[in-house]
């Protein structure tokens, strides 16, 4: 186990009110797996990812525990967290153009990580930067190293970002919606690259996304987050193919556009995700849930084991009926 999150909560104080964005979630990430956190915008998935690297907004209040390789990450001094970012934890963001500094050549920015952590001198770091670019399958890495971000294509920029994040040799890579800004073919290449790098560099990957296509390609295990709470967590296969939580089921059917006949209407989930500070009582999904009953409005469902997954639902979908039930 490389990462262990226990009762983690994060929120903000606004006008004297406590707005809780992530409300007591627990999960483990095993070394070497690709762990996907999936959820709508506002579900708290990015905040969770940032907090693992100690990059939560300074105004946020946090509680619970995030242990990375037996080190408590919450409330660790900034200077120590900084030493872990790069050599232990790498991060990539969704927008590869604005995440690269336009005034420095790409190679310099990859080298910077190594220099910042004292892993190499300037000249050595520059050589390693070229090697990293080669490693992320960039043709002619020498030329790209001395190119400025605006001189290379979007796909190359994202590869350069990955090279930056992996240059210092982290064991955990957190990718926050890394494919959002990319078109479909480049997205596929990127996922393939991540999968290959994972094996070559013995990485653990935490992928944060709302893109079901991405999930299907790479996930070993999936965590479904809804309104700051865990809906369901378990092996990717069972969550993708036999979702037990009605929310997961709704997410999957809304994503199965390619498998539904052309004339059938797109399955959207009714209503919108609740806003921060406006979470409904009981099960937070109940106003949008087709299976909701009276107990869902009053009692928050506890997390429990259900087959191979763990979920928080009073009326989960039985395996045999899962897909048909969700579609009807």
């Amino acid at each position: 186990m490389i990462l262990s999150v226990r009762d983690f909560a994060i929120g903000f104080q606004r006008e004297g009110q406590n707005l809780v964005a992530v409300d007591g979630i627990s999960f483990d990430v095993e070394a070497g797996e690709t762990f996907v956190i999936i959820g709508e915008s506002g579900s708290g998935k990015s905040l969770t990812g940032m907090s693992i690297a100690g990059l939560q907004p300074p105004t946020a209040f946090v509680s619970g525990s995030i242990r990375f390789k037996d080190r408590e990450m919450l409330k660790r001094p900034d200077a120590e967290l900084r030493k872990l970012r790069g050599p232990e934890i790498g991060l990539i963001y969704q927008d590869p153009l604005s995440s690269l500094n336009p005034v420095w050549p790409v190679g310099d920015q990859i080298a910077e990580t190594l220099v910042a952590h004292g892993l190499a001198g300037r000249a050595e770091a520059r050589k390693r930067a070229v090697e990293m670019l080669e490693r992320v399958r960039i043709p002619d890495p020498r030329r790209v190293a001395s190119a400025y971000p605006h001189e290379i294509s979007g796909g190359m920029r994202q590869r350069a970002m990955i090279a930056m994040a992996l240059a210092a040799g982290p064991s955990l890579l957190i990718a926050d919606e890394p494919t959002t800004a990319l078109d479909v073919t480049i997205k596929a290449q990127m996922l393939e690259l991540l999968a290959e790098l994972k094996h070559e560099m013995a990485l653990t990957i935490i992928l944060i996304t709302h893109d079901m296509g991405v999930v299907a390609e790479v996930a070993d295990r999936i965590l479904v987050l809804y309104a700051g709470r865990i809906a369901e967590v378990g092996p990717a296969d069972s969550i993708m193919l036999q979702p037990s939580h009605p929310y997961t089921a709704a997410l999957m059917t809304s994503a199965m556009i390619s498998q539904t006949p052309a004339k059938q209407e797109l399955n959207a989930i009714v209503g919108g995700a609740p806003g921060l500070g406006a979470f409904p009582a009981g099960c937070r999904f109940h106003p949008r849930c087709p299976r909701a009953q009276n107990d869902c409005k009053a009692v928050e469902p506890p997390r429990r084991k259900f087959g191979v997954v763990e979920l928080a639902c009073h009326h989960p979908i039985e395996a045999a009926m899962s897909l048909t039930a969700a579609r009807s």
């Binding site: 990015s46 690297a53 990059l55 900084r82 030493k83 872990l84 970012r85 790069g86 050599p87 790498g90 991060l91 963001y93 969704q94 927008d95 604005s98 995440s99 690269l100 500094n101 336009p102 005034v103 420095w104 920015q109 910077e112 990580t113 910042a116 952590h117 970002m161 930056m164 994040a165 240059a167 210092a168 926050d176 919606e177």
Partner: protein
């Protein structure tokens, strides 16, 4: 993850037609005056020639002569070093200090940032003329006291500009990306923030040189700056006042030089700003 919320920039129209080339020409002429006054000025700017006093413009004295028979054109050429030189020195000193101060304030924790900005407000509120009088009274009249007092009231503008830019740039994705890779705050400031701030500051410096020139010459005109016989432009105008009725050239040519110089810097500043915004 973050959406950049850049405030709408004031749109500055790029100067049109011949204005910009003319402004650049003025700049070239000023540079020549500053660097090679001996080659350009036909006469000695200091030596008196009482036989030639207050002569109107002619082929030997194209801008006429003053009450001491000195060539006004030569005095203007030599004076460039004083008027423009001091203006540039003021702006560069203010910019250097203001950039450092503003950058530290922008990167600091909120409490320190607030304190530093209140100090800036204090300097902002101080009337320039009163300060110039006080400085002149304590270290003596002269261009050095003009430079000191103007620099004291000038740097806060840079501090504020730079702090605002730093706060804006700190939220940029490339800064967050660098932070996410464990790059230290000092390095982030140096490599990922300052290069962008500098572009903004360059525009301000260019425009400010014109303003500073007007301020320097105004203080000299009021008698707080250069001492005779320094051919400083403001002082030329001060000295010309008793003769304005009979010798218009003595007042008009130095005045025109100040106006042309200030306008040229202002236009070039606008051109830089419009290119930045584009």
């Amino acid at each position: 993850m973050s959406i950049s919320t850049q405030p709408a920039r004031r749109t500055i129209a790029r100067p049109k037609g011949v204005l910009l080339p003319l402004a650049l020409l003025v700049l070239v002429i000023l540079a020549a005056f500053t660097l090679l006054p001996g080659l350009i000025a036909p006469h000695d700017p200091i030596a008196l020639a009482m036989a030639d006093r207050l002569k109107p413009p002619s082929l030997t004295h194209i801008f006429g002569t003053d009450e001491g028979g000195r060539d006004v054109f030569s005095r203007i050429v030599y004076g460039t070093r004083y008027s423009l030189g001091v203006a540039i020195a003021i702006v560069f000193a203010s910019a250097l200090f203001g950039v450092i101060y503003g950058a530290v304030s922008g990167m600091a924790r909120q409490g320190i940032d607030n304190l530093m900005m209140r100090i800036v407000d204090l300097f902002f509120g101080f009337p320039a003329l009163v300060l110039a009088l006080a400085v002149a009274a304590s270290i003596g009249r002269g261009l050095d006291s003009v430079a000191l007092s103007l620099a004291i009231i000038w740097w806060p503008g840079y501090a504020r500009l730079v702090r605002g830019e730093v706060l804006r740039l700190r939220e940029r994705p490339h800064v967050e990306a660098a932070r996410a890779l464990g790059v230290s705050e000092m390095t982030i400031l140096r490599r990922h923030i300052i290069p962008f701030v500098v572009q903004e500051v360059n525009v301000r410096i260019t425009t400010d040189i014109g303003y500073a020139l007007v301020a320097v010459t105004a203080l000299s005109f009021l008698g707080l700056g250069a001492n005779s016989p320094t051919p400083e432009w403001g002082l030329l105008i001060r000295d010309s006042r008793p003769y304005f009725g009979s010798a218009w050239w003595y007042l008009v040519f130095p005045g025109t030089m100040i106006m042309l110089t200030a306008t040229a810097f202002s236009l070039i500043g606008d051109a830089l700003a419009s290119r930045r915004a584009a």
